[in-house]
Symmetry: C2
Amino acid sequence: MKKSTKILLSEKEMPRQWYNIFADMPNKPLPPLNPVTREPIGPEALAAVFPMELIRQEVATERYIDIPEEVLNLYKIYRPSPMYRAINLEKALGTKSKIYYKYEGGNYSGSHKANTAIAQAYYNKQEGIKRMTTETGAGQWGSAMSFACHHFGLELLVFMVKVSYHQKPGRRILMNSYGAKVVPSPSTMTASGRKVLESDPESPGSLGIAISEAMEIAAQDPYTKYSLGSVLNHVSLHQTIIGQEALLQMEKAGDYPDVVIGCFGGGSNFSGISFPFIRENIVNGRKTRCVTVEPSSCPKLTKGKFMYDFGDSAGLTPLLPMYTLGHNFVPEKIHAGGLRYHGAGVLVSQLLKDGFVDAKAKMQRECFEAGVFFAKNEGILPAPESNYAIAAALDEARKADIEGVSRTILFNLSGHGHMDISAYEKYFDNNLPDHEMTQEEVDKCVAAIEI
Amino acid sequence: MKKSTKILLSEKEMPRQWYNIFADMPNKPLPPLNPVTREPIGPEALAAVFPMELIRQEVATERYIDIPEEVLNLYKIYRPSPMYRAINLEKALGTKSKIYYKYEGGNYSGSHKANTAIAQAYYNKQEGIKRMTTETGAGQWGSAMSFACHHFGLELLVFMVKVSYHQKPGRRILMNSYGAKVVPSPSTMTASGRKVLESDPESPGSLGIAISEAMEIAAQDPYTKYSLGSVLNHVSLHQTIIGQEALLQMEKAGDYPDVVIGCFGGGSNFSGISFPFIRENIVNGRKTRCVTVEPSSCPKLTKGKFMYDFGDSAGLTPLLPMYTLGHNFVPEKIHAGGLRYHGAGVLVSQLLKDGFVDAKAKMQRECFEAGVFFAKNEGILPAPESNYAIAAALDEARKADIEGVSRTILFNLSGHGHMDISAYEKYFDNNLPDHEMTQEEVDKCVAAIEI
């Protein structure tokens, strides 16, 4: 009999604090810079778009930060999330390795994005904010934020990357169901959007453009703030609840991962599962390899350049020290919309530079193949983004078998794919193109960066 | 602070037996009849399409039936399922009543259908069967069965009601992902399908027609069997795991329901949540009102006739004593595809006749309105079928407030709506028609029944 093993935590065992990896990093990241003066910016420079507590968390140096009671209460609707030993997958693969996955798709939003959406909406509400703006790619982040905003009585305006707005009407309607207003980006509502449309009326949009639009609107009104679903330190912080739980669940399973894997868009998914394990490496001398998986069509960590660049397309953010393909880069229209971002979070960028992170890139078709193989054996149809983590996990297991060893592999199954079914339809119709950026193409993009 | 309360069971607390209400019914249902001889049929009459153990369960008289270890192991991937106190919904409604819901959408299939799919696939595998056929409406049942069959190494052919095949491509592709073959019904693959297409080439299909097609194929080969997702006694039996858990969870919550609600297609959803509570009424003198909710466009329990009729459109099943609109009735194309069935399970029919069940009917638009209100407050976007239960729960709470009392209301949130998003899009576009069958129209349908 094939059997999957579920490793659960009780509500009482749920961590009460987020983990801030900044405290344990041997080399601290470089500071964000004011694009005009090239001087380090202070927290006040962010006050036009973020509430004070999130700015404080963005630059916090303490190791653990308490999760507020009201956030914990909402987390408890769907947390602690389950971890599974993928027994059926292992058997189908014929591997000697053990494969575990942490499943973050069981909540209302269908992905891990709820973890930071709830926290961000809460802090904004606490500081008297009335309206929020945000961007979204595939719509996971926008859906998560829409419910969180409705729950705390905040209005929400979402700029959804145009290609996803049309490819994935499902999450747009889900956002509408929660009462949010959704606009395809680039739009004519903002100067940033109009500028893009002037030079390319057919622009499919990008997360960088959508961020510019959302920030522009937020900066115009003191009761409107902006929220970002990835990239920033406070977003990664909130996602560490995933890895904090996973540490405890691994202990319950009487096991410990040799490899931890997360897909990579801006960094929150990977940070969430891996940071607590990277801490174990730094502080307790453990040897877990932490692997990011990005699309070959958007290879900032594997082929991009570490440099100061803008987080958005129009250059409204401070300059951030990160691996980037250039803030004006518009990635190919792959179906993992959440991974179509030109840059990488500052914390992960520094950790990669310092050798604490191992970066991989994968092609779209192979990832969908891995996702369907996973669904057939474990039941859950994964989000396209999560397919990248699955494909890398299968690679690791196969590699271990070739080397004649058994490894313990853990990956973050960040969401379900029930709302991305059109992408699977294209996969079955043999209609999913593969794109790979060469190093030469990347170098050309990077050389064109103007800051 | 608004807060929802989750009531969990541990794996150890999960019931190890299904509950068979037959044992406690004061009036036993009438026997199924051979349509030619009009004599009661024996179990052997079903052997062409079902494995022996399921036939045994169909006519079982013992009160509890052990769940096999391998079925329990698969249940444990997603069971025990959570129960929630809908605190936010109550607050938004301003009711004095307490509203609880049991959530069955958190598993791979997104609905309660997994509970019987796993059991049915298991028993077929045990008896050496190689291939299965089945019908599906909205696709919840077909998705659940596709994974279960793949897990146990069985091939699966699904006849999907044509209107849902086109309205809901999502679940069709999910079934493909699990390796099942999906055909729109009526099809030209079977004599039953061809006959329907001859008289109406534009037929949207119905569950009754799809059942005929699936049964016809199964009857042609001893290694191919048929499986049904609702209506039959053994299907209701498997779903009682829901209510068995709910009984324990209510006890944990220190509460007991005055009203238990399930939406109604063939009966498995309602049976699952309510049968263990009906037992409490019969055996322990409790007074819980158990409410079925069906679409006003398919009102077999509220306006249909209790009589012998076929379970399928072509007349391949035995004659069953049930409330029916006539086995040739093709319901309006509402979005709750799982509720578009002409008849009602034999057990529920007898219980309604004997006054143990209270039947309601609701219009489509009001149910979607209730579903969106629920999503805004509790986060989960419900399946269109589940919206009928939610609408009735809101009615009960409002009625109690008018009467100046507080009631404890429990309903079965049988699935999530992430794959039914096109229906919500139509709702938001004000493009969801309401249909109500009058008693006169029903009487005309019923008078035309030929058996």
